[in-house]
């Protein structure tokens, strides 16, 4: 039984059939990549998982609990964190504060009026945040403003914000989009490190084949809203349908 079970999900945008009977099973501890050409429905699929969109039919079960119809913050409280295509951080706050907020969300839940507690005296939260930032190699930048970070550091910060919550499932939407090769390789190593050291299940949506084939344990191929193949990286490379739909003539 997988940690995330998606069955029979359909989504229409007007006349466009964006997701067509999508079934997906994600095993605990795996690093599952979803690939597909532009417009295949990858982002739509991810948005359905996190509560941004509501599919027309189908069900999504996370550890046996229904996810569909829940609000984004409720889904996060179940243990699903998301990294966005362009890093979403609190640009006007310091790096440390950026990480302390998810810490509080993890400890205190979706809403708590703790207007008379002092942030500066909460060493438990502070230590947690500093520990994760240390792991991400950002210990020298704790007091920098989020918005002043480089793109790669913003990505690291966002990752730290997700990891500090100790999620059971981490969703990554094109984590290397628009990055130089060197940064991409950094990110790959970072993700590998996270996956190995923390055993977090990850679903990664990616364009870059280099990233996919160096990370994923399982790959699902999405084309025109339907899953056309699901297999290990080695088998996907040689899969005729995939070559036709996605890889085309490009050499991999």
């Amino acid at each position: 039984m997988g940690i995330l079970e998606v069955s029979n999900v359909n989504k229409h945008f007007g006349g466009l059939h964006a997701l067509n009977n999508v079934d997906l099973n994600i095993d605990k501890g795996s690093l599952h990549a979803i690939i597909g050409p532009n417009g295949a429905g990858k982002s739509t699929f991810l948005n359905c998982l996190i509560g941004k969109l509501k599919p027309d039919t189908g069900s999504v079960l996370f550890e046996g609990q229904a996810v569909l119809g829940k609000k984004p913050h409720q889904i996060n409280q179940l243990g699903i964190s998301r990294v966005f295509q362009t890093p979403e951080i609190f640009t006007e706050m310091t790096v440390l504060e950026n990480v302390m907020i998810p810490c509080y969300a993890h400890r205190d839940g979706a809403f708590k009026i703790n207007a008379f507690a002092r942030v500066s005296k909460d060493s438990e939260i502070r230590d947690q945040a500093e520990h994760v930032l240390n792991d991400m190699g950002m210990n020298g930048k704790l007091n920098m403003r989020g918005g002043a970070l480089s793109r790669g550091d913003k990505r690291r910060l966002e990752m730290a914000m997700c990891l500090v919550q100790e999620p059971k499932l981490l969703l990554l939407d094109e984590p290397t989009a628009g990055m130089a090769r060197a940064d991409t390789n950094d990110t790959i190593n970072l993700l590998k490190h996270i996956s190995e050291s923390r055993g977090i299940t990850m679903v990664i949506i990616e364009h870059d084949m280099h990233v996919v084939f160096s990370l994923a344990t399982t790959i699902s191929v999405l084309a025109q809203g339907a899953i056309i193949a699901e297999d290990t990286p080695e088998n996907i490379k040689g899969h005729p349908k995939v070559r036709e739909a996605y890889l085309g003539e490009a050499e991999v």
Binding site: Q77, F90, A105, K112, R118
Partner: protein, 379 residues
Amino acid sequence: MAKYNDKRTLLIFAIIVLLAPVLLAPTGAAYPDLMQRFAIYGIFAIGFNILFGLTGYLSFGHAAFLGVGSYAAVWMFKLLTMNIIPALILAVVMAGIFSLIIGYISLRRSGIYFSILTLAFAQMSYNMAYSVLTPLTNGETGLQLRLDDPRILDAAPPEGTLPSTNFFGLEMKEVFWNPTFLGYELQFNYGFYVSALLLILSFYIAMRIFRSPFGMMLRAIKTNQTRLNYTGISSRPYTLAAFVISGMFAGLAGGLLATMDPLAGAERMQWTVGGEVVLMVVLGGLGTLTGPILGAVFIKYLENILSKINEVVLQGWFAFLPGWTEGFVVAIVYPFVGKGWHLTLGALFMIVVIFLPGGLVDGSKRIGKLFRRIAKREA
């Protein structure tokens, strides 16, 4: 995270506020009525800053809560007692209830739609206070004390006189000490000190909120609400809590206005009052602790001092100028004072927003830095 020295800030703030009758003497603003207004609008602005400064939700409707506070307080004076404590408590509670309802509806939207919704609610409250709610608000005349009010807890006042507001027997209007200091005649009255103590308390509460995880979430809402939602935080209860807290501050300010003068009129709910508090907060320094109070004092000072300058005063000032130049200068300055003081306020507001986006607090910091640089160069 920056190190704050909150205890010192609070102490300095308290000393300045409590010594205001002495410190303000040279500025001509040291009369009880105006100082009390400084403190009351300071409270109003502090509360408003918790909503606008931290979450970035711009409400034009806070005048409604000020008005509700005033009406509630006057009703307490009419029915129960002239002691200000029950009046202030009811003012805060009623404003809290009102802001909960208005906030619950308005916060379904954000940005400009939220602002327009609050504006609509404020205008609606104003018009209702003026017309259909006359039994509660006494319409155009405004709610006033009457000789035949029940006041069930108070002993009957002497025949034919209206009782005055008091704090367990200490009359608000009473000047308890009237010394002469460096040639200035100082007035210490109870009314100002009641407002001043509540101002210090409000400042302390705001400070605690700013430094708390709750305040951090509010700032996060302003910066990136999407990220906050995907981080497992439900932002709506946070914004609603901030809205209600700021509404309660406005109610307290409204109640205090009624303790100065036990009379509540609908014009207190008009949107211009709600607009004024926006000006105060932005002028003083949005999202800073002391800025809103500075802005409130600044605007109320201009209002009271500039609006009293008339043509005769101006002619007195410029009498030293020869011939026609005197009339010319007076004609140029005249539109900016007296009834036209809003023109000065508008011009100042534009200058601050364009050149000093951080408000007066930012300005004073820059001046402080400049002095330090000069001192360093000379050393």
